[in-house]
């Protein structure tokens, strides 16, 4: 903490530069790497070592962490367990987040059955589909509800987080219902850009786009 801050303590904290979104996006990668280190029994790590594991520069790691505080010791590095807990706290992972999953096709089922979410603080707590054959059925201990009930159920359960795994042509309607229900963060697998209010966060997973950004380079190789 900088002693020359011209504000009182509280104001000083408020005036700390807020971390850019690129930094927030890297924190989960740091956390994940630290989890592996912990499993391996490594108790201390330098920014250099951590960086080599995830192909990030040591300077970037130190700069990123500095937005949130001082977590290391000069000459030593970072205590793996402590830093992991700090980052998890920053990311809000000291609590479990209930999430809605909309769209129980092949992808939706894969998401529902994936252990990675639950073990990392994200619990699928409500599932929705528009298919009459699926509505009412159970999966992973949850009843599949109609998409018509999204807003009421999501509101009742105070769900803030949702995952959309429906075809593109349904995604905007689903997003609208989720927002009405009070959802503030959406992960969408649908290949469209969702229009949502400013206070709602949306991130996309778009495997086709990702692959297409690599065929660009493959096509260049073919030429030469």
């Amino acid at each position: 903490m900088n002693g020359s801050c011209i504000f009182g303590l509280e104001e000083c904290v408020e005036h700390l530069e807020s971390p850019p979104d690129v930094v927030i996006k890297r924190l989960p990668l740091y956390a994940r790497s630290l989890r592996y280190l912990l499993q391996e029994g490594v108790s201390s790590v330098s920014s250099q070592e951590l960086g080599e594991r995830i192909n990030v520069t040591a300077a970037q790691i130190r700069k990123d962490l500095s937005y949130f505080g001082e977590f290391g010791k000069q000459g030593i590095g970072y205590d793996v367990e402590k830093l992991l807990h700090q980052i998890e706290r920053i990311l809000g992972l000291n609590q479990e987040w209930p999430a809605a999953l909309v769209g129980i096709g092949h992808l939706g089922e894969a998401i529902a059955r994936y252990e990675g979410f639950r073990t990392q603080g994200i619990r699928i707590s409500a599932m929705f589909d528009s298919d009459q054959h699926k509505i009412g059925q159970e999966m992973t201990g949850l009843v599949i509800h109609s998409v018509d009930q999204i807003d009421t159920i999501v509101r009742e359960m105070a769900i803030r987080l949702a995952i959309i795994a429906v075809p593109g042509n349904f995604a905007q309607d689903v997003a609208d219902r989720l927002v009405v229900g009070g959802v503030r963060a959406i992960l969408s697998y649908a290949p469209i850009v969702l229009q949502v209010p400013d206070h709602v966060w949306v991130r996309y997973i778009d495997p086709v786009a990702v692959v297409h950004s690599m065929t660009y380079y493959l096509a260049r190789e073919e030429e030469s």
Copy 2:
């Protein structure tokens, strides 16, 4: 093309600034939006209109496209069909790319059955798993092979592109085999950073990390 180029034509082309990777990553989004416009019967679009659809500035679109040539008409905008074909050509989508899919669990099955890849120039042409119960079985018209055969089959089929959908602890081994087989681009769903030679492109899809970068903001809202 700049007339004041001090090099001969060929050298001049070589010295055109090569587009940064961020630009390459946006091209598939432009292409996708243009496909929708084409479906809607829109024949012409301005950078402004296109930008509004995908939340990108008009200046950015024009700048991005300028790395590859001149595709628009002053006062008019872009011919949707022509621009789409140009971008698809740039991305190498004027040909079909055979791809290997490794890991036929719930996620792998969802990927195999997903129409979006095939309709957009990516054909899953070989499938692999390590589970004896799955090896030899058929899915979407393809026999599932053993991961032991990755390098030989991938080489025989001249496959350059692969999708990894195996658990994290198997992913590095799978990647190594793919690289031995001649794969140059990998999309990985496994939650580890792969170590590959410089000439191999790797992109990651990491839903848990994506969600964790949003719980950060959700946690901040709770506070206030």
